[in-house]
Amino acid sequence: MLFGRFRKPYRALVLAAIAVGLLSTGCGQQYVVLHPVGPVGEKELHLMELAALAMAIVIVIVFTLYFYAVIRFRDTPGNRAPYRPDWHTNKWLEVLWWVLPAALLTVIAIPTVQVTFELAHVPKAKDPVVIDVTSLTWKWLFEYPGQHIATVNYLEIPTNVPVLFELTADSPMNTLWIPQLGGMEYTMPNRVLPLWLQANKTGVYWGDSAQYSGVGFEKMFFKVKAVPMKDFDAWASQVHTTSTPMTLAVYHKLLRHDTMGKALYSRYPRDTFPTIASGFTLTGSGMYMTMNGQKGRIVYMPMSRSN
């Protein structure tokens, strides 16, 4: 793949530059975007590095010309640089600076398109774990349809398996963002949007809403614990047997405009998550093709038919 070929030479350079910058400020691990632990975040990081390198080239060229011009052509007495008040065109130069940015941007554009398409599909090899996410007013509700359990403001996921988040909102818009796993996606009322992420390392990460949704929204931070598959299964069945169930009454309590800590529920009412989704994404192709066999619960309809 084209992207692979670009990778080697610039990586060392960029990493070195970033490393110098980060080490000088101490705790580099806190630059979460630069320390992804899964394939999605890694791919995104590689593109950032590529773009940063291309832009660094532009910046170096422009700055060199700029400083040269500013220093050489000052209006000081005795400046012997040539003064050409009517020089106003040069065909080759002008062609050059249309071509140069265009070329650099092409270098960025091709992998951008490739990765954009690539990340829109859950990898075919493994069945993903599905988590239905509903943003409520200043809290996150996570429902595990496969495990029949639900949590609030806390995620536990298996490592080395893609996790497919289905996102909706019973609140103003939010975005689900777990920076070390990868990029974010909006939760919107009356829509179900997909996002897949994966953790390849066990550990505890943090997630957040990146879209402002009211006075309590800064309390929407939550912990994400990534554990091996068998630990995940054990955790899920433990929650299923020991926690209290979420009834409709509990769900309605969650809808109140307030904040809360973490909570675990042994089961949840099925109709709290939309069964018919409409959306720009969910028409036909995309990540759901791989999902049909496994889930078959949500019926995805093209927008024109749903309203």
Binding site: M48, V62, A69, Y83, P85, G183, E185, P189, W206
Partner: protein, 658 residues
């Protein structure tokens, strides 16, 4: 006591407008208001205010009024910014409650974009465009005044919200369904929608006006390809405004309907489609960011060639690239919400279109550098802002390209990286450009120069303050800090960078103080501009005396080439060689109170609708209708300025021969 009084009190003055700091400001405002009233009455200035300013249709005076409004709004928006930075300095700071923080970031963004940058740009349009093209006024002087008063009353409506009723709190983008009644019951969002609709009407009219002015009112001989670059940028900006503001108005009106009349365009319940709003908003929003920067591309083009004493390099390329930006900027709006699940094909398309628009934007940078190349660069304050702009804008553009990389944007979106990007382009491009234009054209507007030494102090404070404030924000984005957070947990490692950023904001605050000091000092003691051409300029406005007489040109000049005034000077010509018989009677627009009254009526409509006081809204609406009717049937809209008057004015300026 009538029973509705407590109700009125609670509606107009809910607890959210009774924070201690707001009460203090209320007190200050009342005292200042009383002082001003007293002063105006004592010095008998009311008649003067009414005749010379409130009813004027002269583009040069409208420019001054826009400028005053813009600087006042820069102050208000700046105070908001300082408050935000104070709150964010440390994770433990309790500078203000969360609800107030939300209001402050909303008013900060809205004011800076709609009530600071836009009027400042229109101040420059009004101040120089008619002069540059050799015209006596804009195409529709009365509409020009209406635009101003719609803007001004929109701004007043928006600004009283924090004193009466409570400020909007949904961000400058006002995404539903958060703006819906279910989440936002107060009057704040009504203020936002109504103020922007009213000011937006004014803006749209300004767009029409300057489009027609630049197309139709140019002096004989000034072909399109001989127009100064600032005039090109005005024309292109006006066209952008014309097509960008309608979607905004529609989006705002639909949101308002949801709130006032129970419709469900964007609500959470009953099948509302919030994403439709987001599309409409950014269909306006992306062209808007270019509306905010293209005029300044024009300013920089004028400034760089004047202070390099050299022709603009690659004029045709500049024009082509601006036209390219104009068309392309309608095709990139989805990059503001790549993460709303539009699917890979749509996202890839808009990622590519966004990268495409970066090319013509980048090309201009080379043109400015090569304008300096082979020139003689004079480091005036106006030129310093231009020199600061180039590197700042290049870095802002580079981070913009990083945001256009779709998968990367999944990580950057709504983080402080995004915040740093757009401040990088908006401060580096728009604000620096506005200040450059201010220092450049100040002598033309007011007849004296702004003190250069003080100006340099303000410049360095702005420039250094800017980088100290916003460099840490790029890093904060990489550390996962998201925008519009009122406070953040300890232990994320965000506080060092936030402290630095807050420190930078203080420096920018000092820069603003230095700027105002510079302006006031120069108004009192500034060096008078007696020549009318203090910078050895190149375009026609410098052929006129400063300040410019009411009728601008006693005789309309004939243009033979680009940089018309420069060429005239090369040939030893000037416009000060008028013969008495050259001067004819001039038809000038007549002052009128209608624009002011129209704006005031719209204010009443807006205020009434904000609080659902329907009788008041209807009264205002009747006022609007009356103003329009009177204006339509007012045939006495111009008067003749006698040739004798012009002759004696010109003679007193020493510009008349024989």
């Amino acid at each position: 006591m009538p029973s509705f009084l407590p109700y009125l009190y609670h509606t107009l003055f809910p607890p959210t407008v009774r924070y201690p700091d707001i009460l203090l400001i209320d007190f200050g405002l009342i005292m200042a208001g009383i002082g001003l009233l007293g002063f105006m009455t004592k010095t008998r200035r009311w008649g003067w205010l009414w005749r010379e300013w409130l009813t004027t249709v002269d583009h040069k005076k409208i420019a001054v009024m826009y400028l005053i409004a813009a600087i006042v709004m820069l102050f208000r928006g700046g105070i908001d910014a300082e408050m935000l930075r104070a709150q964010l300095a440390l994770p433990t700071t309790k500078f203000m409650p969360a609800a107030q923080y939300d209001e402050v970031f909303t008013t900060h963004g809205t004011i800076m974009i709609f009530f600071m940058a836009m009027p400042f740009i229109f101040a420059l349009f009004n101040a120089v465009v008619p002069l540059m093209i050799g015209a006596r006024d804009v195409a529709f002087p009365r509409i020009n005044a209406m635009s101003y008063w719609l803007f001004a009353f929109g701004a007043i409506l928006f600004n009283i919200s924090f004193v009466i009723g409570g400020s909007p709190n949904a961000g400058w983008t006002a995404y539903p369904p958060y703006t819906g009644l279910a989440f936002n019951p107060g009057p704040g969002e009504n203020y936002y929608f109504l103020a922007l609709i009213i000011a937006g009407m004014g803006t749209t009219m300004t767009g029409v006006n300057f489009l027609v002015t630049t197309v139709r009112m140019r002096a004989p001989g000034m072909t399109l390809m001989r127009m100064p670059m600032f005039v090109w940028s005005t024309m292109i900006t006006s066209a952008l405004i014309l097509f960008a503001f309608p979607p905004l108005t529609v989006a705002l009106a639909m949101s308002l309907f949801d709130r006032l009349f129970g419709s469900s365009f964007f609500t959470l319940t009953r099948g509302g489609m919030p994403m439709m709003y987001v599309n409409l908003f950014w269909l306006f929003g992306h062209p808007e960011v270019y509306i905010l920067v293209i005029p300044l591309f024009g300013v920089f083009s004028e400034v760089v060639s004047t202070f390099s004493k050299k022709q603009l390099f690659g004029y045709p390329v500049m024009v082509v690239s601006m036209l390219a930006i104009m068309f392309l900027s309608y095709g990139t709006w989805v990059h503001h919400f790549f993460t709303m699940g539009a699917g890979p094909a749509v996202n890839a398309f808009f990622g590519l279109s966004t990268m495409l628009i970066a090319i013509p934007t980048g090309v201009k940078i080379f043109n400015w550098i090569f304008t300096m190349w082979g020139g003689r660069i004079q480091l005036t304050v106006a030129m310093l802002y231009q020199l600061a702009f180039i590197p700042t804008f290049v870095i802002g553009g580079a981070s913009g390209v990083m945001l256009a990389v779709v998968p990367a944007d999944y990580q950057f979106h709504n983080s402080y990286f995004l915040i740093a990007h757009f401040h990088n382009v908006i401060i580096g491009g728009t604000l620096f450009g506005l200040l450059s234009g201010l220092y450049y054209w100040w002598p033309k507007m007011f007849g004296m120069k702004l003190n250069e030494r003080q100006g340099k102090v303000a410049f360095w404070l702005f420039f250094i303050g800017f980088w100290i404030t916003f460099t840490p924000q790029y890093l904060l984005g990489l550390k996962g800090m998201t925008r519009r957070l009122y406070t953040y947990p300890i232990g994320m490692g965000w506080h060092e960078l936030n402290v630095i950023s807050t420190f930078g904001a203080l420096i920018m605050g000092a820069a603003f103080v230095a700027l105002v000091y510079n302006i006031v000092w120069s108004l009192l003691y500034g060096e008078k501009d007696l020549t009318g051409d203090p910078w050895n300029g190149r375009t026609l406005e410098w052929a006129l005396p400063s300040p410019v007489p009411e009728y601008n040109f006693a005789r309309i000049p004939v243009v033979h080439e680009r940089d018309a005034w420069w060429a005239m000077k090369q040939r030893g010509q000037s416009l000060a060689d008028l013969k008495p018989e050259d001067v004819r009677d001039v038809e000038m627009p007549r002052n009128t109170p209608i624009p002011f009254l129209l704006g005031a009526s719209f204010f009443v409509v807006g205020f009434g609708m904000t609080f659902k006081f329907w009788p008041i809204a209807i009264m205002g609406f009747v006022g609007v209708i009356l103003c329009i009717l009177f204006s339509g049937f007012d045939y006495e809209d111009h008067h003749h300025l006698k040739a004798d008057v012009i002759r004696s004015t010109e003679a007193s300026l020493g510009r008349l021969q024989g």
